[in-house]
Symmetry: C2
Subunit: 298 residues, 2 copies
Amino acid sequence: MNLKKYLDERRRLVDRSLKQMLGAGGSFPRTIDKAMRYSLFSGGKRIRPILALASGEAVGGSLDRVMPFACALEMIHSYSLVLVDLPAMDDDDLRRGKPTNHVVFGEGMAILAGDGLLTEAFRVMAEGALHAGQDRSAALRAIREIAAGAGAAGMVGGQVADLESEKKKPTRLLVEYIHSRKTGALLRASVRAGAWVGGAKPGQFARLDRYGVAVGFAFQVADDILDIEGGTEKTGKREGRDAERQKVTYPAAVGMDNAKKKARELLAESLDALSSFGPAADPLRQIATFIVERAVQP
Amino acid sequence: MNLKKYLDERRRLVDRSLKQMLGAGGSFPRTIDKAMRYSLFSGGKRIRPILALASGEAVGGSLDRVMPFACALEMIHSYSLVLVDLPAMDDDDLRRGKPTNHVVFGEGMAILAGDGLLTEAFRVMAEGALHAGQDRSAALRAIREIAAGAGAAGMVGGQVADLESEKKKPTRLLVEYIHSRKTGALLRASVRAGAWVGGAKPGQFARLDRYGVAVGFAFQVADDILDIEGGTEKTGKREGRDAERQKVTYPAAVGMDNAKKKARELLAESLDALSSFGPAADPLRQIATFIVERAVQP
């Protein structure tokens, strides 16, 4: 398979579905509609939805059934970026090369747009779970999974730990605590949700979950590496922004060489978790490889 | 029935369930756990959960099945109060006679605590929907309902319109637009969710929904009246705070006498909607009466 083509196609599918689903439950006031779309359609890679779809695909599930959950994951990711950029958090004025939401719409509207995206994500999932042919229990497990991954025991909790860690010594344990929650939890939930809705059997589910944990961690280690070495053109953020803000990063905790070694180990782990799957899991394999390779390649 | 006793018992039941459910899906970092509990257990009247429970009761549903949705509604209400008090919104430092969340925990943590409560609400509902004996489709309809009522087409959208209306002329149309979304939508969703999960038949559902619309509107008109006439001991807020901030209120739009007349009409409408129900709907009747009477009584 051609990964670039696969990712482009999936991204287009996801974007089309996002446009259809957003606001289908009732009309939004004009300003917040603009603010929500501004962040949701700002050129994201759609990694979480693509992971959910690929996970469902790996167990023979239908794209249509997973799609509402995939879209919801991107809405939640998008809300989290609006949130983390706020003056009361990281106070960032640039995201993916564009002014951040609160810079354009003001702080109050940005907070509301973020919460609008978060809430809409759950409406879209409930709606999708009610579609004909959907296994309601599996869909509810996916909703529960995603809420737990996004909430105070997951992503929101990771952001709390991150806020509280600035200027703390970046030990490996602290970095792993933050990363596993702040980004790991929702990435893992993406894989798990796709597996539930795709109809994974218990053994398959456990293996996909092992993949999700490894790939979620790899993603953040790679992101830390790219923040130092990637340059603005690869990341859309200013280079070295994490160091400047004294963010706790993996390379800062263990050194750059060890961080790259860890990223490679996590890639091996994620591929190993998929060893009993056939070619249906190739997208998952290639996504993991892509995530790690772009960061560790010389 | 004795309404005061009924409300006290329900409030205790809801509080006990909230304590059991909050965080049952994974452990939260200590600070956010404290911040979430600070706002969630600050002496709210629990009107939304009590309405949901009473609505389920009116159609013979079990309390246990409605309870997770009732608790979720209170979590969402609590998040909305944290949100609306923020410096970027109404910038309030007092709520129910206590310092607001961001005053105690800082702005960043308050935003995260609010979003933690919102997300946890959906986890709790998904969890509750998976309980044995629960009708999964009805539960999913309740989740969809509550998400729509809380989101950008509902409560969040109402807050947007409210933000944008300050210093605007308070026409009746503008006030009704804001009220029906900012408070009406979630109150209506409370009644609808209780009806779904309680097992309402279509005809019952339509009548309960008519009640929910009327009581949701009555609630906000009464609240506007109390803000002007109630005094701090009745509201826990400083008297005249709305006028001071040039908030769009119903009495400002139509005059105090007409506002009280409207509140009485809405009470009559909500009682009429319940006319075909027996004594099982008495709590709904008495709640509506209580909401209106405390505001319009001389």
